[in-house]
Symmetry: C2
Subunit: 339 residues, 2 copies
DNA sequence: GGAATTTGCGTTAGCGCTAGCGTAATGATT
DNA sequence: AATCATTACGCTAGCGCTAACGCAAATTCC
């Protein structure tokens, strides 16, 4: 019987055990562990020492239940295998870790129903705050879902209420700039591979595309626009569809780099030269944009910075700070071989 | 005062509220919500209806504290922005979601200290089980950390104890096959861009590389081996270093596709043609391997399947099932333009 | 030097939920 | 009819932790 605990292995050790070992009350242990005032230096040292001896590890769930703060956050994204969101999540997670918060990363597979389910699930976890990046939900649904959290930050959606912040990229200006550049280079038949209609940044990029055309004296032509699933294969399929229409095209602006790279793959298969026959511009500047051949011109965004800013602002909201709205981040045109 | 709850917004609704609304005890509500026996169909229907009316959402932390099961799992990986791990995490997360489990995705930035911290943190969360993919910890540390969980699955590490399973890729055989192919193609000076020494799959690939050389009648030459950080930039730097040695090289086997792609970037910058002067083979077949130019030959692994299998086995362990050890998965040589 | 504050701890009462057992009703069995 | 299972609930007691308050001793103040 003596070694029973040993045999059982991971029998959790609790505040009570530490309190007994240190000869103090549970509250004193709690205060010492959490670095709160009300404990003498001597007692604090003894408690921490005993806690370390016993391998005490506070239960975050018990703490969460008692204090109604879980020190746990969430981030919801359409596709973690998309490098844009992977890098965003990594940056956000680095910041969260530096503040000793844990992070649920929820992948929604671009599916609004799964996005709702993910938000419901996070609510059940009583997390302290959530980042929703590239939400595919209608604004009303998103607003309703998000306001059930203590704090929230939306990436690339408009702010939806109090205690909700937003971090946006000026995709409209970016797309307009891309189109303007193509027109200056003499392109006249500029196609647009749009992203999901549910994506706000997709709608903004489309709007910027139209604006760019008008400002350049060209008329938007619906024949030149094709929606695309935001993946490599989606971009290839959309490009194939446009080529199948047999209308002149001398440039392509894509929803994002994945779509652009997929489109270039299709152009190559169709025997069209890039940028000779058709110039291509993507968006985001994911690491692979520079590596494909021809390398991809794109509207660059500092994705890591975006993730860090989003998480930093979420943490600030959680501390009750009031934030000035953040102006949209202007992407920067990076010219490579594809234009 | 009437609308106070309304003003406060998200006042949580508890089992007690639902019980009162349905005119039953809390336990009956609990049983109904959790689909457990002991409730008549009629009462169950009424409870679920009231719960829906009130927007009741069970607190997973309270449930976790009371039942000692959190329905929450974890996955620890060196780098979520590496598509190998991103795809692995996505597949694992899809399986977890289908079983209504939430998943902590912990990114360790290739740092063993952060990996330990991540495991400690997950222990504090009282998760039901953990997947550790590509652990960079020494075997003893990993074994000690992992056995504190109810169940665990290691990806690309040896099994470390009871209630711990492992899913492995036969990287050794893969690397040996890559080398054999290069030798058959007439290459004689085959370099190896090794991954982190802390990575088991890196060590296995190195071992396979040596084996392949020996079987092909070539002597391993330490001058042809260079360690690399497992990223694009790391691969480029390692390649630059090897080129700087000014020794003949006619082929490169890389730790993974990222390293290989980085190496190809460097080779291009150095004016070497691939595969003319130097053939390159990567490992994993991440989606970008097919898109770079020249496209990359690689040792293909079905990464999604790996993730699904790992999570499926973790869930099985969690249900107390005893698993037959899984034989190592043999990667498949995919030939593209780089060889 | 007495009142007012501060410091250092302990006590009590939950957080929201479920395990485990109790119990009254029904139906099945001998 | 008496006995035994079975079903459908309710009650109690926590899970491990902390908020809020209590209270004595030490310190500060005028």
């Amino acid at each position: 019987m003596i070694n029973f605990v040993h045999i059982m292995g991971n029998q959790r050790c609790t505040v009570e055990d530490v309190a007994a070992a240190a000869g103090v009350s549970m509250m004193t242990v709690s205060r010492a562990i959490n670095g709160r005032p009300g404990v003498s230096a001597e007692v604090r040292r003894r408690v921490l020492e005993k806690a370390a001896d016993l391998g005490y590890r506070p239960s975050r769930i018990a703490r969460g239940l008692a204090s109604r703060k879980t020190s746990t956050l969430g981030i919801v994204l359409p596709d973690i295998s998309n490098p844009f969101f992977a890098i965003l999540a990594k940056a956000a997670s680095d910041v969260a870790r530096s503040e000793d918060k844990n992070l649920f990363i929820m992948n929604t597979d671009e599916d609004p129903a799964l996005e709702r389910a993910a938000l419901d699930s996070l609510e059940s976890e009583s997390i302290d705050g959530v980042i929703v990046a590239g939400s595919r939900l209608p604004i009303a649904t998103l607003a309703a879902a998000v306001m059930r959290f203590d704090s929230a930050v939306l990436v690339n959606r408009e702010t939806a209420g109090p205690r909700v912040d937003a971090v946006n990229v000026d995709d409209r200006a970016g797309a307009a700039e891309a189109v303007a550049y193509l027109i200056r280079s003499g392109r006249k038949r500029i196609a647009f591979l749009a992203g999901p209609t549910t994506s706000m940044s997709g709608r903004r990029r489309f709007s910027g595309y139209c604006q760019g055309l008008k400002e350049g004296g060209l008329d938007p032509d619906p024949e030149l626009v094709r929606r695309s699933v935001p993946t490599l294969d989606g971009g290839a399929a959309a490009m194939r569809f446009l080529l199948g229409r047999n209308i002149p095209i001398d440039a392509v602006v894509a929803y994002n780099d994945l779509v652009a790279i997929g489109a270039m793959r299709e152009l190559k298969d169709a025997g069209r030269s890039v940028p000779g026959d058709i110039a291509v511009i993507g968006a985001d500047d994911v690491p692979y944009a520079a590596l494909v051949r021809p390398s991809l011109s794109t509207m660059r965004v500092d994705i890591s910075a975006l993730g860090r800013v989003a998480m930093t602002r979420l943490l600030a909201l959680g501390e009750g700070k009031v934030l000035e709205p953040l102006p949209a981040i202007r992407p920067e045109l990076v010219l490579r071989e594809s234009t």
